[in-house]
């Protein structure tokens, strides 16, 4: 089972009331390479992968839920006190008429999250390469969001999340090395 902890993984701060940034951030909430996709992709792949790497998929999948909560926190803070005028000026009135301030799993273009955003091929190498690609795509998405944002505190949290993708990619690459290793041979690099 999972246990919730009343604590963010990283102290998220947002310095300016700029609901427009929420429109970009939602890509990492309900987009194809976002945190929800990441968590569900990894946790779901655990059932058809060698035991040696189940722990890694479990732990990275769990960390992704912590990242999802960080993104939700950013969106919440950016939108909670925004007036309808500010919502309009930010270009998020399409979201507002359907959800008000409610968060929803869709991407920056409004496409709702769908299971076809993720893959499970059942082949351990294919799935791990999918995961490595997903981490690099998430890293790139954070780059593009940081490029559009002028909020230094928000970018601080986004930089943390981008760096996590680098470490996750590293671990998935190591998982591939473990699975391709000849039985019983020790690897020293």
């Amino acid at each position: 089972m999972w246990i919730y902890e009343k604590k963010l993984q990283y102290p998220v701060r947002v310095s300016t009331c700029n609901p427009k940034l929420a429109k970009y951030l939602i890509e990492q909430y309900g987009g194809a390479d976002g945190e929800l996709s990441a968590a569900l992709r990894y946790l779901n792949q655990r059932y058809s992968i060698p035991d040696k790497v189940i722990g890694l998929l479990t732990d990275i999948g769990t960390e992704e839920f912590a990242h999802l909560e960080m993104i939700a926190t950013m969106v919440y803070k950016l939108t909670k006190d925004a007036t309808p005028e500010q919502i309009k000026a930010a270009g998020i009135e399409d979201h507002y008429v359907d959800h008000d301030k409610g968060l929803f799993y869709h991407n920056a273009a409004g496409v709702p999250w769908t299971a076809s955003f993720i893959q499970a091929k059942g082949d351990p190498i294919a799935d791990l390469y999918e995961d490595i690609a997903a981490e690099e795509k998430a890293r790139a998405t954070y780059q593009w969001i940081i490029n559009l944002s002028d909020d230094p505190d928000l970018n601080d949290g986004l930089r943390f999340l981008r760096e996590r993708e680098i470490v996750h990619s590293q671990r998935f690459r190591e998982a591939v090395e473990i699975l391709k290793d000849e039985q019983g041979k020790k690897k020293i690099f």
Binding site: I3, K6, K7, L8, I60, H168
Partner: protein, 86 residues
């Protein structure tokens, strides 16, 4: 409107820092099962997080529930603020 004291944020950040080391070491050990030094470091920080959790909870209430934390009276698990409200 009652807000949390500055100490809340300080203690929370200390816990976040130690927990982050534990996350990093966990992922590392998932692919490096026999790195004894990393395991010793992991156990060291696991102990430290226990102390920090206790210190935080005695002032600000439970961090986890389903019995992973003790409860105050009245039941204080569902007290504000939640992490995204801070």
């Amino acid at each position: 409107m009652k807000q949390v004291p500055a100490e809340y944020y300080q203690l929370m950040e200390q816990l976040q820092a130690v927990d982050f080391v534990l996350v990093e070491l966990t992922l590392y050990l998932d692919t490096h099962n026999d790195d004894l030094e990393a395991i010793n470091q992991f156990n060291h920080y696991a102990k430290e997080r226990k102390h920090l959790k206790k210190a935080f909870e005695s002032q600000f209430g439970p961090l986890q529930q389903f019995g992973n934390s003790y409860s105050g009276y009245p039941w204080n698990w569902d007290d504000s603020p939640w992490p995204w409200q801070l």
